[in-house]
């Protein structure tokens, strides 16, 4: 498409991250002529600077830990091993490039028009796109806003992109810092902390509340803290950051000073700010369609994801949880409903979450603490990987599966896994919950032996007193 013209579509999608590109493809599948507008790289943060390249980095860390610490136990002697950190990062960039090309070819396959430029909504069904070649005006019956989110910035943590970083700078940093202070212990913070620690950095995690991964079950937090401390990662909890400043000394090697609310000062070469995300909702003309930017900057919308006249909103910008798979789900429901197809609402109660350091964390549903707070009657089944044959064979005995089973009906209220590649196990529980499988039916489903998945079976069995393996 040439810039400078006026074009007409059924659907215009702003943003090509997991929400946007899926919405665009889905719309084409419904026979709606669709354009997807992107100001940076196709695939958004997830494919370019987030989920996918970070998995490449984390796998490198896992391999390095194996070479350094675990190979000998398996009878493998490694000679002079070394890390070329720039190559570690280069591989992750190559994978990001592949992902971008993947979206491009999907667009081609399904007939989505890709329009490069910065979008601004002019009114219901009208979007101005400023690209390198000039201004294009897009008319569309429906405009889907999928502009995503960016790292949350707060005044006391001035990100300079040199020594005070967000994930966005850290993901392409081509050398491993000798020391890092990680602010915040959500998924991003924990993943980078573990990654840098694996390659030898002295890492300190600072978390404002009383435990790391604060959205997870308390026992999971404790287990991860134990594993991290064993790796030499320092964890400071219950202390908020007062100010982050660059070290006073001049020169290229100036580091950072992190002052905590209780007066403690921490010093390191780098500081990574991972204090959550903030939505990209400002300055895109949402007010021209009657959309309301609500609490936290997220765009108010109804169950169909409608936010204003002829305008819809999905993904991170539509509200938490800021997860790619949430955006996928929202894209499907939103576009199906635009196309007039009846589909069930997005099932936010069954939204899985994962953290990809090793041990990984994967969870769905209620934590034990939340289930208690709600006054539910349930039993807890916990099964350690140390009691799982496959885990012992492969040397991944850390962690456990914990499951909450409703007393009356045997429904799975919540499931929490911490252990090697836990994220790959969780879908069993997510599917079980989605299909409303009860504990009895779960145990009627034979799990292959030997697998780590058996630990899930056993945890459910423990919850209803039927385990023969612990």
């Amino acid at each position: 498409m040439e810039a400078g013209q006026e074009v007409t579509y059924d659907v215009a999608v702003i943003g090509s991250g997991p929400g946007g590109y899926v919405a665009a493809i889905r719309a084409q599948q419904h026979g709606l002529k669709t354009v997807c507008i992107e100001k940076e790289r196709l695939g958004g943060v997830c494919l370019n600077w987030g989920c996918i390249p970070s998995k490449a980095l984390l796998k490198a860390a896992e391999h390095w830990i194996f070479v350094k610490e675990e190979a000998a136990e398996f009878g493998i002697t490694v000679g002079d091993a070394s890390v070329d950190f720039a190559k570690v990062v280069a591989r992750s960039r190559k994978i990001a490039d592949q992902s971008e090309r993947g979206v491009r070819s999907l667009f081609k396959k399904y007939g989505v028009t890709s329009l490069a430029g910065t979008a601004r909504i002019l009114g219901p069904g009208r979007v101005a796109v400023e690209g390198s070649g000039g201004l294009t005006t897009v008319n569309a019956k429906h405009v889907i806003v999928a502009t995503g989110a960016r790292a949350r910035q707060i005044p006391s943590v001035p990100v300079d992109g040199e020594r005070v970083l967000t994930y966005r700078e850290a993901i392409t940093l081509d050398r491993c810092p000798e020391s890092v202070i990680v602010l915040g212990s959500g998924a991003i913070g924990c993943e980078f902390a573990w990654f840098y620690s694996a390659f030898g950095a002295k890492v300190t995690i600072v978390e404002g509340v009383d435990r790391i991964v604060p959205l997870e079950d308390h026992e999971v937090s404790e287990e991860l803290a134990r594993a991290f401390r064993k790796r030499g990662i320092d964890i400071v909890t219950g202390k908020f950051v007062k100010q982050v400043a660059r070290d006073g000394a001049d020169g290229a090697e100036r580091g950072v000073i992190v002052s905590l609310a209780d007066g403690t000062e921490l010093r390191a070469a780098y500081c990574l700010s991972s204090l959550g995300v903030q939505p990209n909702s400002a300055g895109i003309g949402l007010e021209t369609v009657g959309a309301v930017i609500g609490k936290g900057g997220f765009v108010d919308h109804d169950r169909d994801f409608r936010c204003g006249a002829q305008t819809w909103v999905i993904g991170d910008v539509a509200g938490p949880p800021a997860l790619a798979h949430t955006a996928y789900a929202e894209a499907h429901v939103c576009v199906d409903r635009i196309a007039g197809k009846h589909v069930a609402d997005v099932d936010y109660d069954n939204m899985p979450a994962a953290t990809y350091c090793q041990p990984q964390i994967a969870s769905v549903g209620l934590t034990e603490q939340e289930a208690k707070r709600r006054g539910l009657s349930f039993t807890v089944g916990k099964f350690p990987f140390a009691a799982n044959g496959k885990a012992r064979g492969t040397g991944h005995t850390g962690g456990f599966v914990k499951v909450l089973v409703g007393t009356k009906y045997g429904e799975i209220l919540g499931a929490h896994i911490i252990g090697h590649d836990a994220s790959e196990l969780l879908p069993d529980f997510v599917m079980a919950r989605g299909a409303e499988v009860t504990a009895e039916h779960f145990l009627h489903t034979v799990h292959a032996h030997p697998t780590l998945g058996e630990a899930m079976y056993e945890a459910v069995a423990v919850a209803i007193n039927q385990s023969c393996h612990i």
């Binding site: 219901p124 019956k141 009657g290 409608r306 006249a309 009906y409 299909a435």
Partner: protein, 459 residues
Amino acid sequence: MATFYEMPAATPTMTVGVLAKWAIKEGASVTPQTIVASVETDKAAADIEIFEKTTFLKLLVGPGAEVPTGFPIAIIGNPGEDITSLLHTYERMKADAAAGAAPAPVAAPAPVAAPAAPVAAPAPEAAPVAAPAPAVAPAPAVAAPAPAAPVADLSMRWMGHLLSDSVMEPRGRYVSARPAPRIVASPLAKAIAAEKGVALSAIKGSGPGGRIVAEDVEKAAAAPAVAAPAGSARRADEAVRVTQMRKTIARRLTEVHQQVPVFYLTVRYDVARLVALKEQAGAHGSKISYNDLFLKAVAKALREVPECNAAWQGDTIVRRGSVDIGVAVALPEGLITPVVRDADRKGVAEIAAEVRALAGRAKEGKLALEEYTGGTITVSNLGMFGIEKFTAILNAPEAAILAVGGVQQEPVVVDGALAVGWRMQVTMTCDHRVIDGALGARFLAALRVYVENPSLLVL
């Protein structure tokens, strides 16, 4: 030993079936689970499977025959067996049936047996030759608890699991009804239904593909018992529990209706230009409704006659500073009036978007308190339901509410001649303590200017 093979019950309520076609020929030897015929009922077409190794010695009826359930359609047994006595019995049964003594092909439905009868009476097994028809006739029109036991029994022998969607005859012949709806429900939904005694068959599933999920069962369990199933002549009364919202609506409407002296003013506006404007907007892809335009007109008119934008407060009348219009939104359990704030300062498109967003949230029950309180006037529109004219009860403490009827074409007199015009009726309910007749009329006249000249709405 040769025996009759009878018309099976493809569904629990089936009393008569039409033999659509035989899938086997006379003299055919069959093995278990062979489909031997297809049968049509009032509801479905079904394949009949046989569950024994046997031979069809004689086909008694041909395609198109209408046969009561339990009446012979064939004679089965070992090859070469003498079936003469059975043929005699069959002829006698037909003759009896024709005389009205017992059901027969093309005769009235089988008599209604007590639900428990087929289970209690193992007659067919004990005496397969002697007049099997009346004895096996399953209870029609009842929820058929009768076949339950044989289902469980044979499912163990044949299928390894419960055939919840099929019906087994006492004789062990299994009918798989092709379009018979299988109840698709999650294990949790089944567990809750069993515990609460809710019949899954009465529930419409909301899950993927219409699957019954836990929430559906919980809702059904919370709802009052439904009326007796079809078949009983009268439907039982139903006590519907009153929600908190309904209670509040009832209390407030009663108070207002009893305490506030009101009068009504009805006007008929010429909306030809409004219709044209909406069409124009629609052609440009703007989803603007008559109501959106009307709200804007009300806002403008209220600015001109601010005395109507008021509330009675006992010792004072409060003239409201802003024009905040409540819009009545119907909900399954009542109604609610989300408020468009400062409607006089907003464009029509903005009002339209806001109304849609508020209505959407209202329907989800997600309105914040401040979003549906503190209006200065309310507009209730039933035009989209085909209502021409109606009166509304005040939304206290507001002094006025406008009841808007539908936009419709009607004969009008223009310059002494009949013509076709567009009209819309509006009835204003006025709190007489605040608004006198002349004042109300003045407001409706101001409103007329905007409704009839909608181009002024954009100024």
